[in-house]
Amino acid sequence: MRLNGVEIEDTFAEAFGMRAARLTITGINDNWAYNGAAAVTGFATSVIGCGVEAGIEGYSSNTPDGRPGMNCLFFAPSKDELESNLLKRIGQAVMTCPTTACFDGDLPEFKGNDSALSKVNIGGKLRFFGDGYQASKVIGAKRYWRIPVMEGEFLIQEEFTLAKAVGGGNFLILAENVESALQACEAAVVKMKELKGIILPFPGGVVRSGSKVGSKYKFLTASTNTAYCPTIKGRVEDTMLSENTNCVLEIVIDGLTDELVSKAMGIGIRAAVEVPGVLRITAGNYGGRLGKYHFHLHKILGGN
């Protein structure tokens, strides 16, 4: 099919089941809430090298303590990995950040679907930093830990909710040149970010170094996506790029639900095809063998 004259390939993005958590980080003002959120979601583009994929969703309108706050989403392949990464990141990036407090964010996306949720104890483990002077406080039905720090107290909720979520939704923008590709990506990212419940974990929401499974080197499990690299188009037999394609960029989406991922892809693609110089939209998959979720581009965009 074609959208605004851009070819949408009849393929699908292959995505995986992941575990996700939403954190609300509050601070004395917007700036310090942001500093905490930025630090805790930093260096979290891909689980391959970062253990976790994370991003800031945006400012929270309704924080538990009534202070300015930001929501962040975290995705990891398993409960254990998510837990251990949260523990490290909150400990190093929120506890350290002046005036911040860290809460389990709401997950309205899972209302009525409790079976998708589980709890991990984060605050109850970080509390030992208090060296015996930590104290807990139960308000409502929730327990919080108060850890004395040089600035005052670091407040963190004991339990955080983990949800069964989706990671690795994606689409690729094939364009005539880098300017068009970037412009398309930027347009897509702006639109997609309006949606809550998803993150685009890569820098600026965009990744240039897409990968394929396997490598000629035995010690590597993944390597550059040769079929989409324009500079070696002539040397690669199975290149997927047409003559006039000179730049490919990918947008990866992690979302709390498959609907959200699919919605985000739709919004992003529609925004991208409006940019002149975009030639084709496709998506990455592994033949459908690895991931639980298949997002068919035509279906998302309302085609056949």
Binding site: G66, V138, E153
Partner: protein, 287 residues
Amino acid sequence: MCKQITLILKTEPSLPVEAENITPDNLSSMDATEINNLLLWYGNEQRKLSEFFTVEISEVEEVDEFEEGTPLCHTRIIIKGDLIRFKRLGEGMSSGELLIEGSVGFHTGALMKGGTLIVRGNAGDWLGAQMEGGKIIVQGSAGHFIGSGYRGNPQGMRGGMILINGDAGQMVGSRMRRGVIAINGNCGDAPGYRMLAGTLLIGGVPGIRVGANMKRGTIILLKPGELLLPTFYYNCTYRCPVWGLLYRELKDQGFNLQCSNKDIYFKRYSGDGNEGGKGEILTCHSH
């Protein structure tokens, strides 16, 4: 559908009536005759409820104000009249709603496990004593030993919430183990006596011996009264992160605190030193 049972007091009895049978749990499956025949203790005799009250039952359609569209399904009892001579109303209740449009006597909501109990007037002593869960709201004032334990019991309130809009008597929250008590007005001596944990907020001026012998837990004083016992130690003046949480929780429950959320500094005291000093008293420093 929500079952609404209205009890209207005929005349005030001259001796106390023990009415622990009047709980939403008990009345939910009863018809009018059964309710009329329910026995209450009047001195050393048991008398039928109908001797004291006229009974009206109606069905009301209602939705949850927090969860839009979810139909409520519970029993609500509304009692109208001056119930000062009635003791143990709502004792041990675990669900539903008990609304008292007047004042009540002792032990109201004692041993309560869940549900909501609202008193439009004043409440007597032992309000919510040894309660485990649920919510009690008193729009007037309440007596001594709110959320406390009965004699000899090492533990008082173990959960839930008690919100008093007016004043409170002595030893509010004595030996409380968990939960929140908030008093908008003043209170008598020794609030939080032997407190084990939990949160006690006093909006007005407290009596003396605040938090005496407390082991753990938090007492928040918005209008600090006299000096604390010398076994409490001043630590610092700071913004307490928990305050925001509590403020919001109380506001969500419809409790009108006489102060703002923002820009409050607290002086933090640890104590009681004689009991290990793990408790805290936060006194409001500035608004």
